[in-house]
Chain length 446, copies 3
């Protein structure tokens, strides 16, 4: 079971939670993550300090559906030195300086020969871009455009001291089991799957924010007294990591009722929810409600982005939405060295975490109820549920009870009622609880 | 059967109808109505002068679903007098001065003790508010805030000379039967239910307007040569009255195909239709069409308002819409002494009545027809249905025939055709009649 | 089979196609077309020079559903001469001067008697209006309002030297058969029907444009290497012509999967597509996509217009849309002598033809595909389908492949994917072809 955690974020002052999330990001930031390798293992170890994370491995060469797990990549050193021996670009200075999965090189090259291996952003001359070459054997360096322009003609010593050798792909898995709340006290089989990619080096919004928020969310659901769903959190390299989990767990895939990909939760801008491929699944309704009430934005699915495109694939059909703030590619700091710890805000992370706990609340408690006093409006006054003096506008609490009674036909869910009424789910859920306690409402078995 | 009435409103000059509606309101205005009592009985007697109204009673103490019929409330006198004997508030001056269902009191109280029993509107210092305490035994007075502020400290004599004693709840029912127009000349079983609450004292828009318009509508449908539906009008105290009817007539409830609650039809503003809980019933389609073409407004259902919330309850599922002008709570005169006969306009009442007769026309005559010359467009010219010279734009009458022929597939109703064509229902109905007379169209049995 | 034609318009410089379309219109313009007669026969002969057109005839007096084929109308001469013998209006000057189907007259009339037979447009005093009197025996002249005002009182000689005599109604039919592309190489039974009315005299936009574009479209589909559908083009008098085809081909009517009425394609304004009666048929989806991406307009069905109202009639249910530019009655030149060859533009005709070839492309190639590597995203790189260096935005070609893979569940069509993706159908179709060639996708049999 879960080891003790500082406790759920919700209902606690934002300060400690924010500090905890930031401290975790600061420890993760300098680790050299990639698709494989020690950086991923070290990162999983940091995450596992707060939640009972199990490390899973898949050997190099293993087939994962259409893919093959690549060799493991290790970096000892990588730099370019000019004729005077001065290192003009060096991975020791910043992980982004080396193109991910660069093959080993030791050569003296003229600037003309070197140039095709150098990547910069002319329109953002002061930042280092992020590049990888996972599936094509190549090498390269990324540098500030300003520095690239300053390179003098002449000969350069190139050292890429890397290893590509059989090893493994590594990902972390945290499982919070369901509790016995179903009919007969049986634990449900349905799962909620949350994924966050662990392969991006150095950058904070993409994706230290997803990782640190997912850890807090795991702690939150573990602290819930009851859970209708099991919750599974994957901290895995993009694409190949989640595909490996899907390949190894064919029996679990159909149990995933709701899935959510978390990334980019700390930059500016409102929350942005990207719907599942079908756009009408339970996770869509839940997150639309929560994000909509927080002034966030809802977008249609597209087959571009993060692990949602694997989960939503035709062969799996896992209904996976994605929660971010400003999505990838839409802010200038994206995939550059400017996506650093100063770029992400504590308030944004806490707000994202609160939204996610609200989503969990909907997933756990949305249900259809049956009105047990369906012949007209029951008397609320004698049951202590209604203000005594008539003629005044009823307050939101009373209205939530009237909406719930008026629509609880055994088929309409509380979330649907909340949406129709324009009320928060939590208000309608509380009204349903009050009415159920008064014997006016009964939950339909789900 | 119905006794002779002055005849239907439609097609007659607005003057006499408006005068008749106003005269009826003037006679109803001073009667002391409440949930029960003589005021309701006297009001029903006035309404029954124009339509064959039957008075129904339910004894105090009777269970009505979740409710119990309260004791009957009679008021002989009620006032507050100051030390000099001057009555500072007196129900004899205006029915709203006494909180409805106030319990008997005879006491001398200091202003501090009296104060919690006095209700006023600080933001509207010159009007008397309307308050009731039907289900909590209490007493109180309502007065102008200006008068309340003028009360000097000191002792006051309070007299509430009321009786709460076993008696009855009273409501009125008018039934206009269907005529034999169905297949084989049989009268239909389907009913249209119209309700208007009779429990509000003194106020004109809420609800003398609903009562007087409902009476005229009853007279109108009674004068129709044929009726596919029976029409039932209830003049009943809010909530408990309609629930009593529902409780006593379980066999009739499933026959109610369309229901409409009438109130607040005389204030300013456009007609406002509140849809049924489902929002897609026949009454919704009919009233949306009529009110929409008159520039009115359509709103979603909410479980707050008048008797529509009882009728739409999950246990009954009667599709009840509500027609008002500016709805309750949205105009400052609402539930105050400012809602007087000067506040309601004759033109607004006549307009509401006309809209309702159009709704009846849709309910009575909407049907799907089958095109009997379905292979292309039939020749209208030789049948005398078409202008002889081609090349000009056809007028609305011809267009209505073409829309009707073009869509009459035995499933699409005339109202649906009218909506698609953007034409008034009456125009399409007339076109269908002309085409049926020419042998080009036949009504499907409904 | 088809005789050699200059080749399909698409992919060729606009110049020759435009010139060919204009030359055809110039030859058609002076012919005296009407519902019947030599003008129609001569026009069909001109059209038949480019495509293998068969002439069909229906004898006068034949019943066509609710209609009867009228007598054939021939004009030898028609004029009005004043007392001095000067012809003030003469059909020899312009075909529109004589009301279509005018009965023979030879009389001397005072201006007062003559006046009801003269038609002009006071608001457009310099143009001659178009009038017919097909089904009411009458005669009349159309003239410029300016000329009508100049007529002096006095006696006029009226000569209408026409014949109404048993003859025939004539229409042209071009059939381009399907090729064997179905399962087992069988040719499909489904047809695409294109109609364009041939009865309007003198006017260019209405309808020389529809005729000349339809001829080019017929040549285009005939040059396609494969056709899933047969394509049938009708060049027929309005209403009666298409009804005659429907009456004579009861077995073919159910095979018409898509129908399109072409007219008014050369005036200004964007393309305007009028949907079928149901609004959700395959032809609607195809043309909405094409016209929408070209900035055109989509309108709802109405039972007014051209042959679409016969085809969409309840008894046939042929899903017929209509493509025009500014629709009939919405431009001042409509049905007047101002609708001449200068009013129509070459670029507009070529643009309309291109849009129609795109529609044909959708009708021929839209299908649902099944993703053969459905477990996550397949590797595009090793198959040469993907840019080698990651981290950059994928281009439209890659996105089209991802959309196609992501949605190809064996039920979602390429057109639906294109609409969801906001991509042109052609781009998605090309992506599907590339993926199918790589073994990643297979077309479901349709």
């Amino acid at each position: 079971m879960l080891r003790p955690v500082p406790g759920p974020a919700v209902g606690r002052p934002a300060g400690p939670v924010a500090a905890r999330m930031r401290e975790r990001m600061e420890r993760l930031q300098p680790l050299h993550r990639s698709l494989t390798g020690d950086g991923v293992r070290e990162s999983l170890a940091v995450l596992g300090e707060s939640v009972p994370l199990r490390v899973r491995t898949v050997p190099s060469g293993a087939r994962v559906f259409d893919w093959t797990v690549p060799e493991e990549w290790s970096v000892r050193a990588a730099y370019v030195a000019d004729g005077s021996g001065r290192r003009v670009v060096d991975v020791a200075e910043h992980p982004l300086h080396l193109v991910g999965y660069s093959t080993p090189v030791r050569a003296r090259l003229g600037l003309d020969e070197l140039r095709p291996h150098l990547h910069s952003l002319p329109e953002q001359p002061d930042v280092v871009p992020f590049r990888t070459s996972y599936y094509t054997r190549d090498w390269g360096f990324c540098l500030r455009h300003r520095d690239l322009l300053a390179l003098a003609p002449g000969e350069y010593d190139v050292v890429v001291d890397t290893t590509l050798a059989p090893g493994e792909l590594t990902y972390g898995e945290v499982v919070v089991p369901a509790t016995g709340v179903g009919p007969g006290g049986r634990a449900g089989q349905a799962e909620v799957l949350v994924t966050s990619h662990v392969c991006h080096p150095a950058m904070a919004n993409d994706n230290l924010t997803g990782l640190t928020v997912a850890v807090e969310l795991a702690a939150h659901v573990a602290a819930l007294p009851q859970r209708r769903h099991a919750y599974r959190f994957l901290f895995a390299p993009g694409t190949l990591g989640v595909l490996a989990w899907l390949a190894r767990n064919p029996d679990l895939v159909p149990r995933v009722r709701h899935a959510l990909v978390l990334t980019g939760l700390g930059g500016g801008g409102p929350l942005v929810y990207k719907q599942t491929r079908h756009g009408d699944r339970g996770i869509d309704r839940a997150v639309r409600h929560v994000v909509g009430r927080r002034g966030g934005e809802v977008r249609a699915y597209s087959p571009w982005g993060y692990d949602e495109r694997q989960l939503n694939a035709v062969g799996f059909g896992v209904p996976a939405g994605r929660l971010t703030r400003t999505p990838h590619g839409e802010y200038p700091e994206y995939h550059t060295s400017a996506d650093d710890l100063a770029f992400v805000g504590d308030d944004e992370l806490v707000d994202a975490l609160e939204a996610l706990t609200e989503v969990v609340d909907v997933l756990e408690h949305d249900a259809a109820y049956t009105n047990l006093a369906p012949y007209g409006e029951p008397q609320l006054g004698p049951r202590g549920l209604y203000p005594a003096t008539g003629g005044r506008s009823a307050d939101e609490e009373v209205m939530a009870m009237l909406w719930t009674l008026g629509y609880s036909d055994g088929a309409t869910s509380l979330l649907a009622i909340a949406e129709t009424a324009g009320l928060p789910f939590a208000t309608v859920r509380a009204a349903a609880a009050r009415l159920a306690a008064a014997g006016l409402l009964a939950e339909r078995s789900r």
